[in-house]
Symmetry: C2
Subunit: 236 residues, 2 copies
């Protein structure tokens, strides 16, 4: 067992857009709000990367993703002019949608197969607590949880990958970063990790235009986690 697989989570393992929109839709219905929940989920998610960028490069101290999600929710509710409809408790409930997300259909079987080939851990921008709660909801059985919180910074900052490998006790060359996002793999490769691209053509819905193809010669290119496990197994 001289190998570890570490995983991007939002988009790569779970369908955040569907999960968030489902919970938003319920809350909007209760409040008689007619905003499309997918439009709202997309707008909320659009604030994700700029919020992390303030920590990665603009000097803000690390705060957990749960905090950024909440700040971004508040801003998005204001953006849509519906802030007055939601109390603090309502907002906490909406914020917890990020720990109640459905997995893509190959994930359980794929992770079970990959666990026979190495250790498995999420390397997400989620906090350890959020990763843990999401794992329970989604039935993800991790060996351990690493990622942004370990490094007190956000992907694609180099130290997130390096500190995650170190925490798991592996050299980067013996760790495979699995992601549906080319940019994540660019950074992982620069840090010395192996890379696996798994295409998720519907992460952003039917109109998705990004990350539909591997944009480099990643170590592995797979149609899903089961395919990835079979490829790794055949090379072992």
């Amino acid at each position: 067992m001289n190998r570890a697989f570490i995983f991007d989570v939002f988009g790569t393992l779970v369908n955040w857009r569907e999960g968030v929109a489902t919970i938003v839709a319920l809350a909007f219905k209760e409040n008689g709000i007619t905003v499309d929940p997918y439009t709202f989920a997309d707008a909320w998610r659009a604030r994700y990367d700029p919020a992390m960028e303030r920590i990665r490069v603009q000097g803000r101290s690390y705060v957990a993703l749960d905090v950024l999600h909440r700040e971004n929710l508040d801003a998005t509710l204001t953006e849509f002019g519906i802030g007055n409809n939601f109390s603090n408790d309502d907002r906490e409930g909406l914020n917890q949608s990020w720990e109640k997300l459905p997995v893509w259909t190959d994930v359980h079987d794929g992770l079970d197969r990959l666990k026979l080939l190495g250790f498995v851990a999420p390397c997400s921008n989620a906090s350890i607590a959020l990763s843990m709660r999401l794992a329970r909801f989604a039935g993800l059985n991790w060996d351990s949880i690493v990622g942004a919180e370990i490094a007190q910074n956000y992907k694609p900052a180099r130290e997130v990958y390096l500190s995650s490998c170190k925490t798991l006790g592996f050299e980067p060359e013996n760790v495979v970063m699995v992601a549906a996002h080319n940019a994540d793999l660019v950074a992982a490769r620069l840090a010395g990790l192996q890379t696996a691209f798994v295409v998720r053509p519907n992460e952003y819905g039917a109109a998705q235009t990004v990350d539909l193809i591997p944009e480099s010669d990643w170590t592995y290119v797979a149609k899903d986690l089961i395919d990835l496990a079979e490829q790794v197994k055949s090379l072992s």
Copy 2:
């Protein structure tokens, strides 16, 4: 799921003495060494607390338990006058005995039951990597791994308990520290956690004289993890 259980591992969940002695016995047999493997395991373990004390109070910077175990192994081999029999590779193999330890018989069933009542994580002095490898060997399915490495210090230092609770996203009052060692629970209680004493009368073999009884009014006193789960469930 508004509760977490965190666990001492060596002694509370796994029988380190039996596991280490088993691997030591094989190595000694191969080398024609007649030292009793249990005596050797006890001597190796006796160096554990003083080694941590150098980090807790004597100013040594944190190093992982794997490193302390190796240093203590080297010293113990010298103590018994058998250092020349073991190469660096031999010593690494012996050191890995700490990740190949058998669980007490109630642990799998007990942990399964406790997982229905809360999140579960080891809060051990082992590093995250060591905890992870031991968990795979022993079949311990954790939600996450916390403990000494999170705090860069060793139990019973207060910050190990507090940083473990914070990492899991729980206030200390909603976390139960489970241990077979009264001293561990004294420190956990001072940090604000709930406490559960599980007696392990054979951790140190048949001649054990310590930790045979609860030395305070711990939140729970249980004969094993199954009993603990039943007690917690009946109060929920």
